[in-house]
Symmetry: C2
Subunit: 403 residues, 2 copies
């Protein structure tokens, strides 16, 4: 069973966001410089759904579904037909390209599941897969789990440049080398940068030329800041059969507690994903699916307000880090920041543990997203004041532990 | 990509329970003998949660979790620590062998997910796996998906015998041939038969002798009828490291709409399952997890009453089928029946479609559970009167289409 042991070694979750409670403190006291930095605990590993509360009406939609009973508890594996139809119309409008709710969409228990199913449906042992660095930590793990071979392509994560700063010549070289699938998040997780129209067009052109399937994780594509323009992968000239789009109401809408995701793409790939969902989880929880009725259907002005509030937190945190000489790109969408740390006298893993134990701040190490041992990721969807105060503590800690 | 196409061909869901709405009617009219048989629609493909309603207090437990907010929305991947602790105590009592909530248990989005994760954590390409025929349809598909090689072992599905009637000499031969994992449901799905204490002891002895890991899907093990005795796999002499037990509150408790499952076993295997869950679905929906607080914690007498009601439906349906000369074992637990049909002049797939279109009755073809083209599966957790009337229509249809 050594091959299966190796397979699971590659899936290490010890430093994954949300798992910090399972870490032992170990001898962290020996490393500590200076006193405890007091302040309200802030867990930047995920958004705070108490600070930004779930969409109005979401709980009521759930309760209605419980009242409806059987027909809502047992839906098709791909999800309730009428909810898919509703969503397909709204998401077709949003992405600028029509979707058939019947054949081109699947509801999943969380966006993570949509990602898992889409990789499983397109990547087989030995397939070459291009992924971005830095990018969402599960992308790499998923490709490894299905036996794919990774071709990393970098984006610019430290300096403000137009678009994501994707290394297009490297991407082309990867496609020429036989890559079958390109998987990326847009806006990028962990940097919040958005790919430019030109970058998306070039990806589409290359994918068409080389017959590459593109999986576009667009989880945060609604939460866009002033001046950001967004191009949907599926609204390009790339044939529908070569694009899978993933979205979900978990983050921006603070609906993570319901675990809902959606994928849309060609009927063939959606059918594969449904077949697999039948043995992975059967379906997104029936009652939870009804919460999607509130999605892209929020009260007038609600999303605009949420964007303004996030932009204010973003700006103050960027100022705090840059003021201390730390490099950080300004996120154009979403609620992630990926600041760089100065050279430290402890390793990144220990610094992250020290932050938690000494400064009451939880962040995710950059190594979860690629070979980025000098960066940390923050989800700044938090109480504004507490987040900024925690940012100040991160700066102070970086000074204390600077080499 | 031909290997991935083959992989998904093996996952066909066209005849899977719950997917009937996606079947086209085709030329079913040409095959029809006689008129429509009128009657209330009964969908035996799953239990009717309107006839047997969810556990009292389940919705309230969910709502409380929404009120709690963030800490309940984002739990560890393996689920909320305090809910695991609570459950571990109650499930330890139930199974007769203590469980550590901290290290030996994972909450999953549905029992299906627990099954997926446990097979993924133990079966690798080329591994030999013994499964039972007939048994839950996903067992075979899961083993195939992970590249395992199947060794089928039969149970007695037509005649009442003591225990399940497992072919123990075949099981031993499979273990001798190098089987690494044995996967089975107890009570058996689709027959409802329960393995005897002797059968469980023999499985444990053989597994210990040959170092085989046993995955015991005990989904229905609470809903036991008069006279049934039940032996938990993990309460045998088999070392903990060789047993994974799967349960869930979805069926007996009519909580399917919440999609909750649980697996318990050795810390090593639970850790693997959690690592994989991190890329498959992250976690069981946070709010939904709270519904588990009502599990094995129901009002006094509630479960006894539910058992009595199911037993009454079981008895009347068995009588109906046997009265028409159809073979069927008497289920000792759960709510499945697996009656055999007479030789028909149409194939089983068409008969099942005819049942739906002509008699308003949905059943699952026996071929989903093994090479059982003369049987159909019914989940009789339904309105009593409607279920019995639908049983009578099945008998009438079987007569009409008898060869």
């Amino acid at each position: 069973m050594s091959s299966i042991e190796d397979k699971f070694k590659a899936l290490a979750t010890d430093n994954a966001p949300g798992q910090e409670v399972r870490q032992t403190t170990g001898n962290i006291g020996n490393l500590m410089i200076g006193d405890i930095l007091p302040g309200t605990a802030v867990d930047f590993s995920h958004g705070d759904v108490d600070a930004f509360t779930p969409t109005p009406g979401s709980m009521e939609a759930f309760l209605e579904a419980v009242e409806i009973g059987g027909s809502q508890a047992y839906t098709e594996y791909r999800g309730s037909a009428d909810i898919r139809d509703e969503l397909a119309t709204r998401l077709g409008d949003f992405t600028g390209s029509a979707i058939s709710g019947q054949d081109e969409m699947i509801l999943t228990p969380g966006t993570q599941s949509a990602l898992f199913l889409s990789v499983a449906a397109t990547v087989s042992t030995g397939d070459k897969v291009a992924i971005v660095q830095p990018d969402y930590f599960a992308n790499r793990k998923l490709v490894q789990f299905f036996g794919g071979e990774i071709y990393p392509v970098s984006i610019e994560y430290q300096n403000d440049v137009p678009g994501a700063g994707l290394d297009l010549s490297k991407l082309k070289a990867a496609f020429e080398a036989g890559v079958r699938v390109f998987l990326f998040s847009n806006p990028n997780n962990p940097t919040g940068v958005v790919y430019s129209a030109e970058e998306i067009r070039t990806i589409a052109d290359l994918a068409r030329e080389f017959g590459v399937t593109v999986i576009a994780d667009q989880l945060y594509s609604r939460l866009r800041y002033e001046g950001a323009t967004y191009t949907h992968m599926r609204a390009t000239e790339l044939p529908d059969s070569q694009v899978v789009t993933i979205m979900g109401p978990s983050k921006t809408e603070s609906l993570s507690g319901y675990r809902l995701g959606v994928a849309f793409g060609s009927p063939a790939v959606i059918e594969r994903m449904e077949k697999l969902q039948a043995i992975v989880s059967l379906r997104a929880p029936g009652y939870n699916q009804a919460v999607l009725r509130t999605w892209f259907n929020e009260p007038e002005g609600w999303m605009d307000e949420r964007i303004v509030q996030h932009q204010a937190i973003r700006d103050e945190l960027v100022q705090t880090f840059r003021g201390a000489g730390m490099k950080v790109r300004i996120p154009q969408a979403g609620s992630y920041l990926f600041p760089g740390l100065p050279k430290l006298r402890v390793n990144l893993q220990d610094f992250v543990r020290l932050l938690r134990h000494q400064a009451n701040v939880t962040v995710t190490p950059g190594t979860e997203f690629g070979p980025h041992a000098s960066n940390i990721r923050l989800n700044f969807s938090q109480d504004h004041k507490a987040a900024v105060a925690a940012g100040v503590r991160i700066v102070e800690m970086a000074k204390r532990y600077a080499a």
